[in-house]
C-alpha cells in the first residue's frame, strides 16, 4: 500500500513536471511567435506611382523654368497610393451668410470650371442661420451649404476637381477590414480632405463588392447595387445580380479601369432617370429616414448630399423623394450611401450637417476630395 502510494507520488511529480514544462514551453513560443496586427494591404504599385509622381515633378519644374518663354501648363494630381493629400491652404477657405459673396469665387474658378455650370448658385436661399462655405485653389473648388427643401434640411457639398485623382476613397487606417473605426471627421482630418463624406460603412454588412485601390477584396453582387469609380473619376452603376462571379468582377475592374467601389445603394438616378426600386435590402428606402448620396454632375464634378432633420425642419425623406428632388435640380446620376446616423458631410475637418442623434458614429470609410496643389511649390 505504502509502495503504491509512493509510486503514485513519484508519477504525479514526474507528470506534473513534464506538463508544467510543456506549459512553459508553450508560453515561450507564444512570446516568440505571436505576430503583429494582420493587415490586408497591397503595395505592389508603389514603384509605378513613384515614377508617375516624378513625371509631374519634371513637367511642373519645366513649366516654372519656361515661364514667359514657352507656355507649359502645370499639371497637378495625386498618385494613387498616396493616402494623405497635401494640406489645403487655410487662407483659401471662406464662408458667408450672403450667397452673393460667392460671385467672386465663381469668377476666380472660371478656369477650373472650364465652362461647367455649378450646382451652387449665388441666388440660392440658404437654410436660415446657415452659411455657404467654399474652398478654391488651382486644383479644386468646393461649395458646401444647407437648404430647406420639403421641410427637410439638405446639406450639399459640390466639388469640381482638376484631376480625377482628387476624388478619393479612404478606409480606416488605409486598410481593408481594419480593426479600428473612426468618426468621419477624424478620417477626413487624417487624410487632409478639403471636403469628405461618410462612405458605405462596408464593414458593417457583408453585402456588395469591395474594391479599394484597384484591389478586389469582397465579391457579393446578389444583394445590392454597386457604384464603381474609374480612374477618370466616373461613377459606374452595376445593379444587383449583374456581376456575380469573381472572374466577372475582376474582368469588369480591368476593362473599366476601376479604382474603388461603393456598396450601399440603391441607384437613385441613372442617366437622368429615377432608378429607385420598389424594395431594397438596406437603407429602409421606403421609410422616412436621414439620407446620404453621392452624385456626378459632369466630368470631375460631384455633389455630396445628406438629408437630415435640423432645427424646426423635422421632415425626413424616402429614397425616392431625394431622387425626385435631385432630378428636379438637374442631377443626372446619383447613388445612395449609408444614411441614418452614418451620413456625414465634412469640410475643413468640421462636421457640417446635423447628423442624426447629434453625434457622428465611428465607421470604417469615407470618400473625399483633396487638393492636388503641393504644400510648397517646390514639392511639385
Amino acid at each position: 500500500m505504502t509502495e503504491t502510494r509512493k509510486n503514485r507520488t513519484v508519477l504525479t511529480v514526474v507528470f506534473s513536471t513534464v506538463f508544467f514544462l510543456s506549459a512553459c514551453a508553450l508560453i515561450v513560443l507564444m512570446a516568440l511567435a505571436m505576430g503583429g496586427e494582420k493587415t490586408v494591404r497591397d503595395g505592389t504599385r508603389l514603384t509605378a506611382e513613384v515614377a508617375s509622381g516624378f513625371d509631374m515633378y519634371i513637367n511642373n519644374m519645366t513649366a516654372s523654368a519656361m515661364d514667359g518663354v514657352l507656355p507649359i501648363p502645370k499639371v497637378y494630381y495625386l498618385a494613387e497610393d498616396v493616402t494623405v493629400a497635401p494640406e489645403p491652404d487655410q487662407s483659401l477657405f471662406g464662408s458667408s451668410t450672403a450667397p452673393e459673396d460667392t460671385l467672386s469665387v465663381l469668377q476666380d474658378a472660371a478656369g477650373l470650371l472650364d465652362g461647367d455650370a455649378t450646382f451652387w448658385q449665388p441666388d440660392t436661399v440658404l437654410m436660415p442661420g446657415s452659411s455657404v462655405r467654399w474652398y478654391l485653389d488651382e486644383t479644386i473648388l468646393v461649395f458646401t451649404w444647407k437648404e430647406v427643401i420639403d421641410r427637410c434640411v439638405y446639406t450639399f457639398s459640390e466639388a469640381k476637381v482638376s484631376h480625377p485623382s482628387q476624388f478619393r476613397r479612404y478606409f480606416a487606417d488605409n486598410t481593408f477590414a481594419a480593426p479600428r473605426q473612426y468618426a468621419p471627421s477624424e478620417m477626413a482630418a487624417a487624410v487632409n480632405a478639403v471636403s469628405a463624406m461618410s462612405g458605405d460603412f462596408y464593414k458593417f454588412r457583408n453585402m456588395g463588392h469591395v474594391v479599394y485601390q484597384r484591389e478586389l477584396y469582397r465579391v457579393e453582387g446578389r444583394s445590392i447595387d454597386n457604384c464603381f469609380v474609374d480612374s477618370g473619376g466616373n461613377l459606374h452603376f452595376v445593379r444587383r445580380r449583374e456581376l456575380l462571379e469573381e472572374d466577372e468582377v475582376r474582368r469588369y475592374i480591368d476593362e473599366n479601369d476601376i479604382l474603388f467601389s461603393l456598396s450601399f445603394g440603391p441607384v437613385l438616378i441613372d442617366d437622368g432617370e429615377i432608378a429607385v426600386p420598389a424594395n431594397y435590402p438596406v437603407g429602409e428606402i421606403n421609410e422616412l429616414y436621414a439620407r446620404a448620396a453621392i452624385c456626378q454632375l459632369g466630368e470631375r464634378h460631384y455633389l455630396m448630399v445628406t438629408v437630415n432633420q435640423e432645427g424646426p425642419y423635422l421632415n425626413a425623406s424616402k429614397a425616392v423623394d431625394v431622387a425626385r428632388t435631385l432630378l428636379d435640380r438637374g442631377v443626372p446620376n446619383a447613388y445612395t450611401l449609408d444614411g441614418g446616423q452614418t451620413g456625414a458631410i465634412i469640410m475643413n475637418d468640421q462636421l457640417i450637417n446635423a447628423v442624426q442623434f447629434g453625434s457622428q458614429r465611428s465607421i470604417s470609410d469615407i470618400i473625399y476630395f483633396a487638393t492636388a496643389l503641393p504644400e510648397q511649390e517646390g514639392d511639385a
Binding site: 506534473s16 507564444m30 505571436m34 505576430g35 494582420k38 490586408v40 488605409n174 487632409n192 442624426q356
Partner: protein, 322 residues
C-alpha cells in the same frame, strides 16, 4: 503598429507578445499556487495547463477569425499563421474545455474547485496582460481626449494614427480594464485566502461565479468604449463581448437562484431581485443604444450604465446564497 522589442533571426518579437506571455506565466503560477494549497489532486491542474494554453490559442484565433474573417485568407490560414489577432473570450472557452477534459479523465473530482483556483489567476493575468496594449494601437477608446490635462493614464493613452502619423490621445480603455481586473484580483484573493468560519465552508464554484460576475460587469461597459471591438457577423451594434457577458450574467443569476432555492427554499424576495437584476441589464442595454446614438453624452450614458450594472450586482447577490 505593435512596437518591436527585438529581432531574433529576422523574426520580430513584439513587446505586446512578451507582456502577454509573462501575464500567462504569472497566471499559471498563481493558479498552481492556489491549487497546490488544497493538497488534493495536485496533478490535475498541471495536466490541464498545456491543454488550456493550446485550446485558448485555438479558440482565441477562431473567434477572431469569425469576427474578422475578411483579414484572413481562409480559416485554415487563420489557424496556422501566427500573424493576426486573438479574442480573450477564446481563452475562457479554451480553459473551460481543458478543465472539463481533466475532469473527464478523472484527475479531479471537483471541476468547480479548478475554476475557483483559476479565477483569481485569470484576473491577475488579465490585469498584467492588458498592459501589453501600451505597446500597440489596440483597445483604445472611441473618444478623443482633447484636454491636455488628461493626457496621461488612467484617462488617456497616446496612439499614432496609422495614416497621418499624428499622435492621438484616446481614452485608455485597456488601462482601465487592467485596473478593473486588478481590483477583481484583490477581491478574489482576499475571499480565497480569508479563513473559513468554523463549521462553515465556501461553496465550490462561488469564487469563479464572483469572478465572472465582476468581470462581465466591467466588460459590458468597457467594451462599449473601444474603437476596435469585435462584432458578430450578423450584428454590428452590440459587441460580441457585450453579448456574451450579458448572457453569462443571466446564466449566473439563474444558477445562483436555483442553488439558493435548493439550499434554503423559495423566498418572496427572489422575484423582486430577479426583476431588479434583469431590469438593470435591460437598462444597461438601453444605455448602450443611447451612447451609440448620442456619443457626445458618453459621461451621462456610462454613469447610468455603471449604476445599472451595480444594481444588477446587488440584485444578483440578493437572489443567491453563494
Amino acid at each position: 503598429m505593435d512596437k518591436v522589442a527585438c529581432i531574433i533571426d529576422g523574426r520580430y518579437i513584439y513587446w505586446r507578445s512578451i507582456i502577454v506571455a509573462l501575464a500567462v506565466l504569472a497566471a499559471v503560477l498563481m493558479a498552481l499556487a492556489l491549487w497546490l494549497r488544497r493538497k488534493k489532486e495536485p496533478a490535475a491542474l498541471f495536466v490541464a495547463l498545456p491543454f488550456a494554453i493550446v485550446f485558448s490559442l485555438f479558440f482565441a484565433r477562431l473567434i477572431h477569425w469569425y469576427c474578422r474573417f475578411e483579414v484572413y485568407e481562409s480559416l485554415w490560414s487563420a489557424l496556422c499563421s501566427p500573424e493576426g489577432g486573438y479574442s480573450l473570450t477564446g481563452a475562457f472557452a479554451g480553459t473551460l474545455l481543458a478543465f472539463a477534459l481533466v475532469r473527464l479523465l478523472r484527475l479531479t473530482r471537483s471541476f468547480a474547485s479548478l475554476l475557483d483556483c483559476a479565477a483569481p489567476a485569470a484576473a491577475f493575468g488579465i490585469a498584467l496582460g492588458r498592459l501589453g496594449d501600451l505597446f500597440s494601437a489596440a483597445d483604445r477608446g472611441k473618444l478623443l481626449i482633447s484636454g491636455e490635462a488628461y493626457h496621461h493614464l488612467p484617462f488617456a493613452a497616446p496612439v499614432t494614427n496609422a495614416v497621418s502619423g499624428a499622435v492621438e490621445w484616446r481614452f485608455a480603455s485597456f488601462f482601465v480594464q487592467s485596473l478593473w481586473a486588478g481590483i477583481i484580483f484583490l477581491i478574489l484573493i482576499t475571499v480565497t485566502l480569508w479563513p473559513e468560519k468554523k463549521g462553515g465552508k465556501k461553496r465550490d464554484g462561488s469564487i469563479f461565479l464572483l469572478f465572472m460576475t465582476l468581470y462581465c460587469l466591467g466588460q459590458i461597459l468597457l467594451d462599449s468604449t473601444r474603437y476596435d471591438a469585435l462584432f458578430l457577423r450578423s450584428n454590428g451594434f452590440v459587441s460580441l463581448v457585450q453579448i456574451l457577458c450579458t448572457t453569462v450574467l443571466v446564466l449566473i443569476l439563474v444558477l445562483r437562484s436555483v442553488r439558493s432555492i435548493r439550499a434554503g427554499g423559495f423566498s418572496r424576495w427572489y422575484p423582486a431581485a430577479w426583476v431588479m437584476a434583469l431590469g438593470a441589464l435591460g437598462a444597461t442595454g438601453y444605455m448602450e443604444y443611447y451612447v451609440q446614438r448620442h456619443g457626445n453624452e458618453f459621461l451621462l450614458a456610462y454613469s447610468v450604465m455603471a449604476m445599472c450594472l451595480t444594481a444588477y450586482f446587488f440584485a444578483s447577490l440578493a437572489a443567491g446564497d453563494s
